[in-house]
């Protein structure tokens, strides 16, 4: 169910989501916060999906990357809360939220008996274990593609996410990178503990390791991943490295079903850094972003080739560094690849 809808400020949402990350223990779920963010934007019926994805770009600039640094982000929240009284949508109480103090105790009917103890319990360890106590796993190769830039630069890019575990706690592996001229140019690999905190949202805590032709960098990762209202798949994380480095990354995807099998997927990714890292050509602030559009055909749910186009750009001090090095600051790329999972 991925449908045409109103315009939204993806970045604002994600930043708010991220703002909630440090306060994992709080009962108010991120999803709820995000719902509110969603409702701030006025409905704009003419905003068709691809456009929405592109429109999000200017919005990012205006948000400014002060928010990229984690301590500053909480300032967004009171503002968001301020919007709440205006909303009387009954569905707001139907999802998320925190339990009222008088909420029913689900164990009250047990009178102290458990699955293993009490009258008529079978002797020995419990043998009836349903799938909620089994582990599952999956590996999604979201992008495995050939990238052709206008100037003839070709590369192979990949983006993979794997998981193993149970419903609410799992090991998550993310890997993204590109290979050209037979060499790994740039790679980001993350190993995370994914923990469900709200209906549609998981927190992800762990490590990130960047490698490639530039010096390697290691980070601690604090992220959220999930599904925002209107079916936006959001993956946002803040990173803390050594020497006081901080980074922020946001990815957002949307799946517009043209038919049951033909899917148009706008995709957006931006990166920002707390301080410059000239060895990597990174300037502080908003550094780079990619907005893409991919059209895939799902031969099966698990196998879908696609073609697409994306626009990549460098911004601010990062763009200055690129210009100083005689590199381009933006480019348009054509992509063709396959999405599959198992």
């Amino acid at each position: 169910m991925k449908m045409i809808d109103k315009r939204m400020n993806v970045l604002a949402m994600a930043i708010i989501g991220l703002g909630a990350t440090p306060a994992l223990a709080q009962t108010s779920p991120v999803a709820e916060t995000m719902d509110h963010a969603q409702h701030q934007s006025a409905p704009s019926p003419d905003a068709v999906k691809p456009k929405a994805a592109r429109d999000a770009m200017p919005a990012m600039d205006s948000s400014g990357m002060d928010h990229g640094a984690m301590p500053g982000m909480k300032s967004e929240k009171p503002e968001t809360a301020g919007e709440m009284p205006a909303m009387d949508h009954s569905e707001m109480s139907m999802q998320g939220g925190s339990a009222p103090p008088d909420a029913r105790d689900p164990h009250a009917y047990s009178d102290g008996y458990t699955l293993e103890s009490g009258p008529y319990a079978l002797p020995g360890p419990r043998v009836l274990r349903l799938s909620d106590e089994h582990t599952f796993g999956g590996l999604l190769v979201d992008r495995l593609e050939q990238v052709h830039a206008r100037d003839g630069d070709n590369a192979t890019a990949y983006e993979i996410q794997g998981w193993y575990g149970r419903d609410y706690n799992r090991l998550v592996v993310k890997a993204e990178g590109d290979v050209s001229q037979g060499k790994l140019q740039e790679a980001r690999t993350e190993l995370l503990w994914g923990h469900a905190i709200a209906t549609f949202w998981d927190t992800q805590l762990g490590m990130r390791y960047d490698s490639g032709v530039s010096p390697d960098r290691g980070w601690l990762a604090f992220g959220v991943q999930g599904l925002a209202p209107y079916w936006f798949e959001v993956d946002a994380a803040a990173y803390v490295g050594d020497k006081g480095r901080t980074a922020f990354r946001l990815g957002a995807e949307y799946e517009l079903l043209l038919t049951q099998k033909l899917v148009l997927q706008p995709r957006l990714e931006i990166n920002a850094y707390g301080k410059s890292d000239e060895a990597l050509g990174i300037g502080s602030g908003l550094s780079d972003g990619v907005a893409g559009l991919r059209l895939r055909y799902e031969f099966t749910r698990q196998f879908a080739p696609y073609v697409g186009v994306e626009r990549a750009g460098k911004f601010g001090k990062t763009a200055d560094l690129a210009r100083a090095a005689g590199e381009k600051t933006d480019e348009t790329r054509w992509v063709a690849g396959v999405r599959f999972w198992f």
Binding site: A99, R104, G118, P119, Y120, L128, D132, T199
Partner: protein, 612 residues
């Protein structure tokens, strides 16, 4: 309607329904070449009469793997005495039956006697009533039959029910049969997947809508815009999009993986039951599917429902009934023509099971087209509040427009919505005694506010007269729960001493299913005090219908607002519905209580009940 031929089936809207077509094409090739030896194959007459019949008081059942082929792909099934369905067991009320079940599988097995009142050690749920039947072992079930009617039995181990372990039980009443029939047929519906059911489950964990090929598309949106205007088209989608819920989430599995069977026979195989014109024929319908709700009708015949879940009801004549996994309905028909199609379309409208009632073999009647799939309505999402919202929304769109706003929540069941406003009153209003009427105020568990739950309904629909999504105002008289009246009233005249409220919960995006937001592994048992009469309220905080099956004791369904309605062993609870039933806790032991959609059960929509 076009005439049916074995090689060409009228399929509406081909691009969207190619799974039906594929299914039938496969069935045509191989529907009759099932390697499992159907019961009828031993007879001289080349007609499919369903499962073999065993009767008496001593039975030997052997569980083993058997090769089958329903779709063109050879697969292994789990079978009882080598047949699908398993042999029909005919018992007599008052007899004590002995059933020796031998396991020739490489894994544990079990048999649960669905709806039969018996000692808990005989109930056949591994880990609760006994330890299961290990490979090579024979377990002897022995219990006295204290009831009569149509029931069934199935494995309660792993996914064996999905892979073929289900059969009918017919119990002859000791006091004579009040529903006289000249002839009877058991019609057991089921579903089959060529995939490993655990793999199906794992795929849903990756993508909850994996098998849903009826999702709203951009094309649908533009069609709505041109017909109803931009605002109506956006309004129609607004709440679904905000809540990240799908209006077409009618079934987790569809014809994309399932083949729908009637007495173990594909639609193309066309199970046929014989009759002589003018006879009174009793049809014992059993839904033995793992995951499929069926909407059953026989075009050209009125169905007089005389029994539900094995319990005689005051006869009610309808055109159609819906039933979910676990439920049974006995209907009387009086066919006069040569042939009638027994048509059982699935609730999600991606396919159907089909057979024929005919005066001789080899003839068939027109097979109807599958109805279009409706979107779920606001009432399905929000309960009584959604119904009222629907009333307010009636100025949108035009009447009869099933996909417009009016169709969504106004015209389609405006009448229903009015019922709600009458019944969904705050607790305490018009109460004679404290527990005279079931409470109407939702009391959500504190564990329903986390990741296991994707919605909560504050005002459940309490009316029982809604046939459900896809059957509302379809021009046919459709059975609803409010039509059922068990003839001899409640088993226990006492009123309830207390109320137990359980919420049906889940998260379609994560594909988790639970009660009160807690899957089985995180749950504690529900304690019924021995001898008490209590009220159970099931409050559905999901957008799916869940057939809730309590083992060991009858669920005596209450009318909307209180009062005895019908005695059931499996009660379908519709989206955003709040129903209540009374139980007499007279069966000591531990019992299973779960949603009978197999994947929901296995996901953890399951509780243990302790009667002590």
């Amino acid at each position: 309607m076009k005439p049916y031929s074995s090689l060409y089936l009228p399929v509406p809207d081909l691009p969207r329904r190619r799974f039906v077509q594929g299914l039938v094409a496969g069935g045509v090739l191989l529907g009759l070449s099932s390697v499992v030896k159907p019961g009828w194959a031993s007879g001289t007459e080349a007609v499919n009469r369903g499962a073999p019949v065993l009767s008496g008081t001593e039975f030997d059942l052997v569980i083993a793997e058997s090769p089958v082929n329903f779709t063109g792909k050879p697969r292994m099934a789990t079978t009882v005495n080598g047949s699908i369905p398993a042999p029909t067991l005919r018992w007599r009320e008052g007899d004590t039956v002995t059933i020796r079940v031998t396991n020739r599988l490489r894994e544990d097995t079990s048999i649960h006697w669905h709806g039969i009142i018996l000692p808990f050690q005989m109930d056949g749920v591994p880990g609760i009533s006994f330890k299961g039947i290990a490979p090579g072992e024979t377990f002897t079930y022995r219990f006295k039959i204290e009831q009569s009617g149509t029931y069934w039995y199935h494995s309660h181990s792993g996914m064996q029910e999905q892979t073929g372990m289900y059969g009918a039980i017919v119990i002859e009443p000791a006091a004579g049969e009040p529903n006289r029939a000249d002839r009877e047929h058991v019609i057991q519906l089921s579903d089959w997947t060529d995939e490993d059911p655990m793999r199906v489950f794992a795929k849903l964990k990756m993508q909850g809508d994996y098998y849903n090929y009826n999702q709203p598309t951009a094309a649908d949106f533009f069609r709505d815009v041109s017909r109803d205007g931009l605002k109506a088209a956006i309004d129609k989608r607004r709440m679904w999009n905000e809540m990240r819920m799908s209006p077409t989430d009618l079934a987790d599995l569809s014809a994309a993986t399932l083949t729908y069977l009637m007495n173990g026979t594909t639609p193309a195989g066309n199970w046929t039951g014989l009759f002589r014109p003018g006879e009174r024929v009793r049809l014992r319908f059993i839904n033995g599917a793992a995951n499929t709700f069926y909407d059953v009708r026989i075009p050209g015949l009125k169905l007089t429902v005389v029994q539900a879940d094995g319990q005689n009801v005051e006869p009610v004549t309808v055109d159609e009934f819906r039933f979910g996994p676990g439920e049974t309905y006995d209907v009387m028909v009086q066919p006069k023509d040569e042939a009638y199609t027994v048509f059982a379309q699935t609730m999600d409208r991606t396919g159907f099971a089909r057979g024929t009632l005919a005066v001789r073999t080899g003839i068939e009647a027109t097979v109807p087209e599958v109805d279009p799939a409706d979107w779920l309505t606001m009432a399905d999402m929000m309960g009584a509040m959604g119904g009222m919202g629907g009333m307010a929304g009636m100025d949108h769109g035009s009447s009869g427009d099933l996909n417009g706003m009016a169709g969504m929540s106004g015209m389609n069941h405006g009448g229903m919505a009015m019922d709600h406003s009458k019944h969904a009153m705050p607790p305490g209003m018009a109460m004679d005694g404290k527990l005279a009427r079931p409470s109407t105020q939702a009391r959500h568990a504190k564990t329903e506010y986390g990741p296991s739950t994707d919605m909560r309904v504050d005002m459940g629909r309490t009316n029982l007269d809604d046939p459900g999504i896809g059957l509302r105002n379809n021009g046919r008289r459709v059975l609803t729960l409010s039509d059922l009246r068990t003839v001899d009233g409640p088993l226990d005249p006492r009123g309830p001493e207390r109320e137990v409220e359980l919420h049906l919960t889940g998260n379609m995006e994560r594909y988790t299913w639970s009660l009160d937001g807690l899957e089985f592994g995180r749950s504690t048992p529900v304690h019924f005090r021995y001898g008490e009469r209590l009220r159970v309220i099931l409050h559905n905080d999901t957008m799916m219908t869940h057939p809730m099956h309590l083992h060991g004791m009858w669920s005596e369904l209450e009318q909307d607002g209180g009062g005895f309605q019908a005695r059931r062993h499996t009660i379908p609870v519709q989206p955003a519905q709040r129903i209540s039933f009374l139980v007499t806790a007279d069966a000591l032991g531990r019992w299973a209580w779960h949603c009978h959609l197999m994947l929901h059960m296995d996901a953890g929509m399951f509780r243990e009940v302790v009667v002590a």
